[in-house]
């Protein structure tokens, strides 16, 4: 299966780029990533000299499962801490050696046009394929008026993007922060400023843990901590939602989006693509398992495409968007009931506990006097919590009631007519039929 990807005219052999982050900080890593098969990289964010410095203690915090699986990670690392010219020289060499891979340069300089004017020609000189403006980083640099300090003010996004676009021939991707109330505003601003694409999400502002002996947030630097940027599998749901909002917004629909946020497996990547991302960027998964995961990502995506008879990555992009809607348009005449497969049930009773204590008292705990769990159709509102807590896959499933069946909870016959909140009699502003 050909996974050839084209994003803003930039070609890469697959839609998996390494995001701007430690894995793309230098030639050594990027070469190894390309040898492993990654489609492209967004080079770790460059800034103006003198190069910034990092803390000399731990820069990463983590949220683990009990088996030490890394579920979420945060960092207080800043942009590259190497001299600008060192990075530029390496970018040039790497791009020359890997002409078929995408090499994007991430930038973050102060909010002054001259700063941007001075750095852009130097980046063009590397013959990299494009730029990503880092308006997302929520820690450290934001205190200095950069990163998410820009990304949280749509007017600044538009202004800086415009400066950049008017001073370079290179395609420009604007990287957005999720630390904002409504993602559509910064996205619109980016495109208004002339951005060719947006990428999101950058990390979520976070404190991952507090040491209960020292009372220091972690990672702890000499007994103090600061908020960092949260990433990894835990943030994927946030990212999927924000990507879809931009893809659905009439003002930005059909614009290019590079999806970022917790992509760990090929499935995650496919989901981002279906919600409108043209490609995906990966960081935490590579930082957890190394570059080798690219083989799983590419083979997984192509196997799935084969099964679905999808011939190119671009066919996937936005495939689920028409199914993302507002709550008010969900069909209220669609009735389902949980049902428990007694052959698969191991009788742990978790469904009972959650339904009885926190939901709708719709599961009974005995069957013919013996321990056993069954759904009470008269009470089940189909909330799904029993399925969420059931440890056995497919043991509890939702059954769609057929039109004509009686919903035992409401006593009403299930209708095959679509009807939503906008027309519901309980809605004070529902559209009433003419008298």
């Amino acid at each position: 299966m050909n996974l050839q990807s084209e994003f803003l005219g930039i070609k890469s052999p697959n839609p998996f780029w390494l995001a701007s982050a430690p894995p793309t900080d230098k030639e050594y890593n990027v070469r190894r990533a390309f040898e492993a098969g990654w489609g492209g990289v967004v080079w770790k964010t460059l800034g103006l000299d003198p190069n910034i410095v990092n803390v000399n203690g731990p820069r990463y915090g983590a949220v683990w499962g009990p088996d030490r699986r890394l579920l979420g990670m945060n960092n207080i690392e800043l942009i590259t801490d190497r001299p600008l010219q060192t990075n530029l020289d390496e970018i040039k060499i790497v791009k020359k050696d890997y002409p078929d891979r995408a090499v994007i340069v991430s930038l973050m300089v102060p909010c002054e046009e001259d700063c941007w004017k001075s750095i852009l020609p130097k980046v063009e000189e590397t013959e990299a394929d494009g730029l990503e403006l880092n308006f997302g980083c929520p820690h450290g640099m934001s205190e200095r008026g950069m990163g998410s300090a820009v990304g949280q003010v749509p007017e600044y996004i538009e202004m800086v993007t415009r400066w950049v676009k008017s001073n370079t021939r290179m395609p420009v991707i604007v990287k957005l922060t999720p630390n904002i109330t409504d993602i559509r505003y910064p996205a619109r601003a980016a495109f208004k400023g002339g951005a060719d694409a947006v990428s999101l999400i950058n990390t979520v502002a976070s404190i991952v843990s507090v040491n209960l002996d020292t009372f220091s947030p972690e990672p702890s630097i000499d007994g103090k901590g600061t908020h960092g940027g949260y990433c990894g599998p835990a943030v994927k749901p946030i990212a999927l939602n924000l990507v879809s909002q931009i893809a659905r917004d009439p003002e930005t629909q059909n614009k290019d989006i590079s999806g970022i946020g917790g992509v760990t497996t090929w499935k995650d990547a496919a989901e981002f693509l279906t919600l409108g991302a043209g490609n995906v960027q990966v960081c935490t998964a590579a930082m957890t398992y190394g570059f080798g995961i690219i083989s799983e990502l590419t083979s997984g995506l192509s196997n799935w495409m084969k099964k679905k008879e999808i011939n190119s990555v671009s066919e996937i992009v936005g495939k689920a968007i028409s199914n993302v809607t507002d709550w008010q348009y969900l069909n209220l005449n669609h009735v389902t009931k949980a049902q428990i497969d007694q052959d698969l049930c191991i009788k742990c009773g978790r469904c009972y506990a959650v339904c009885e204590d926190t939901s709708h008292q719709a599961i009974s705990k005995t069957i013919n006097g013996e321990r056993g769990f069954e759904v009470i159709d008269e009470e089940c509102v189909a909330c799904n919590m029993c399925i969420n807590v059931c440890p056995v896959e497919n043991c509890i499933t939702m059954r769609n009631l057929e039109p004509g069946e009686i919903d035992k909870r409401t006593g009403q016959t299930v209708s095959d007519v679509y009807a939503n909140w906008t027309t519901h009699p309980n809605n004070p502003s529902s559209i009433k039929a003419a008298e």
Binding site: P66, D67, I346, K347, C348, G349, R350, R371, P391, V392
Partner: protein
């Protein structure tokens, strides 16, 4: 190493020092912190969890496992001890595969139950290593209770009573406390003198005095005790064993498996214990398994368990059967010994095959026979009670108790192996001892 596995007869020093050390080291060592956390995460925290009802002491298992997973080992241990003050020993010796772990829903789901026993050991070891005793004794209430026997039942009863403010005096026939915990458990299940350390820890509650070398019927009587104590608890276990009669010429070769196991627990140097080259163990319970496995570990060349019925009838669990066979023990079922003879200086045991008669349901010997070499024969066909039966109402040859562990005699309670409701399990003895203590308390106040 003066002898080898092949040295004839019953001799000591069959193995090297290292082999003895390895063979009798901890069979199931405790979990590390990480192992415990990963295993604890497997618990589903079931509603009305089946493991709890499968535990004779009804430990709140999902709660203590959750406490382990949130790094509260001491609280986890307390959850265990609240129900079972000998939770440390039970974690080592309970046949969990037929109790809590058999009931674990993950057994049904994937055949791999949460390792509840090992998690319990992790929690209890953790608090006991820190030498924390998490209970304090109520102010003395001035009442005196006599407890006969310092085995699991007697200890559990004593601890609970002491906690409630009673002054407890234990009468122990041996010169060391612990009963079967001290004498009746396979050595590799309770290493490093755990049984006596556990008792030392348990006695920290205070208010418990142990009188050693006091045998019921010899040094004191129930009637005497009744005069000087407010209540009596009997947890004296079973003193006698069932004997097998093969023929009189076999008698010198036959030993009680119970004595063999007790000797192993008390010996300091395993190389000093003589063991036969060809060992035969007769019986189908845990005692038979423990005797057979330990014979093998002492360097016997061939160890054979002879059981008169089939594998499914053995009271030793499948796990224990597998443990025995993995150590090299051969289990022959549906056979009974009939006679013994000597050939070229070697004793041979004649056996008949058996089957259950289709019509009567009784076991009968078949005509087919075979013989095996036998230098040493351990008899493990059960223990019996032959004490006090004139004083108490009895059932199945044991003291009859009601659901509150009360005997037919006023102010006398009983529990453990000596009662009709005894289950030959440490954990059941603990449950009865504890329940009797509560019942005594209720009857006095």
């Amino acid at each position: 190493m003066s002898n080898t596995k092949l040295s004839p007869g019953i001799v000591s020093s069959r193995l090297s020092k290292e082999d003895y050390l390895n063979n009798f080291s901890d069979a199931y060592p405790g979990f590390t912190n990480y192992e415990a956390k990963v295993e604890a995460d497997r618990c589903y925290f079931c509603y009305d969890a089946p493991c709890i009802s499968a535990c004779p002491t009804e430990i709140n298992i999902p709660l203590f496992i959750r406490q382990i997973s949130t790094e509260m080992e001491d609280e986890a241990a307390k959850t265990i001890f609240d129900q079972n003050i000998l939770g440390g020993m039970c974690a080592r010796v309970c046949p969990t595969e037929t109790l809590c772990e058999e009931a674990c829903v993950r057994e049904a789901a994937e055949g791999k139950p949460v390792k509840i026993g090992r998690l319990q050991r992790y929690a209890t070891d953790s608090i006991m290593e820190k030498n924390i005793h998490p209970y304090t004794r109520n102010e003395s209430n001035g009442k005196k209770i006599a407890v006969i026997g310092s085995g699991p039942a007697g200890l559990a009863c004593s601890h609970r009573l002491a906690m409630l403010g009673y002054n407890v005096e234990i009468y122990e026939s041996k010169n060391k406390p612990g009963g079967l915990n001290e004498y009746g458990i396979a050595t590799y299940k309770s290493v490093d003198d755990f049984a006596s350390k556990e008792i030392e820890w348990l006695l920290k509650i205070g208010g418990i005095q142990i009188n050693y070398n006091k045998t019921l019927g010899k040094d004191f009587s129930i009637d005497e005790l009744r005069k000087s104590y407010d209540a009596i608890f009997i947890g004296c276990g079973l003193q006698d064993t069932n004997k097998i009669s093969i023929d009189s010429s076999a008698d010198p070769l036959v030993e009680d498996a119970v004595d063999f196991i007790a000797d192993l627990r008390q010996v300091k140097d395993f190389s000093s214990l003589p063991i036969g080259r060809n060992v035969v163990v007769i019986g189908g319970g845990m005692t038979a398994i423990d005797a057979a496995v330990q014979s093998q570990l002492l360097g016997a060349e061939k160890v054979t368990i002879i059981y008169r019925r089939n594998l499914d009838n053995m009271s030793a669990s499948k796990k224990e059967q597998n443990n025995a066979t993995s150590k090299g023990v051969k289990i022959i079922t549906n056979a009974v010994p009939t006679s013994i003879y000597k050939q070229n200086g070697i004793h041979k045991l004649n056996l008949s095959y058996t089957e259950v008669d289709k019509y009567t349901g009784k076991l009968k010997e078949l005509e087919q026979t075979f013989s095996i070499e036998a230098d040493q024969i351990f008899c493990a066909i059960g223990q019996k009670f032959n004490n006090l039966l004139d004083v108490f109402k009895s059932h199945k040859g044991k003291i009859m108790i009601d659901e509150n562990c009360k005997t037919s005699v006023e102010n006398v309670w009983a529990g453990g192996d000596c009662v009709d409701k005894g289950e030959d399990l440490t954990v059941s003895a603990v449950a009865q001892g504890r329940n009797a203590a509560q019942a005594i308390h209720k009857s006095i106040f």
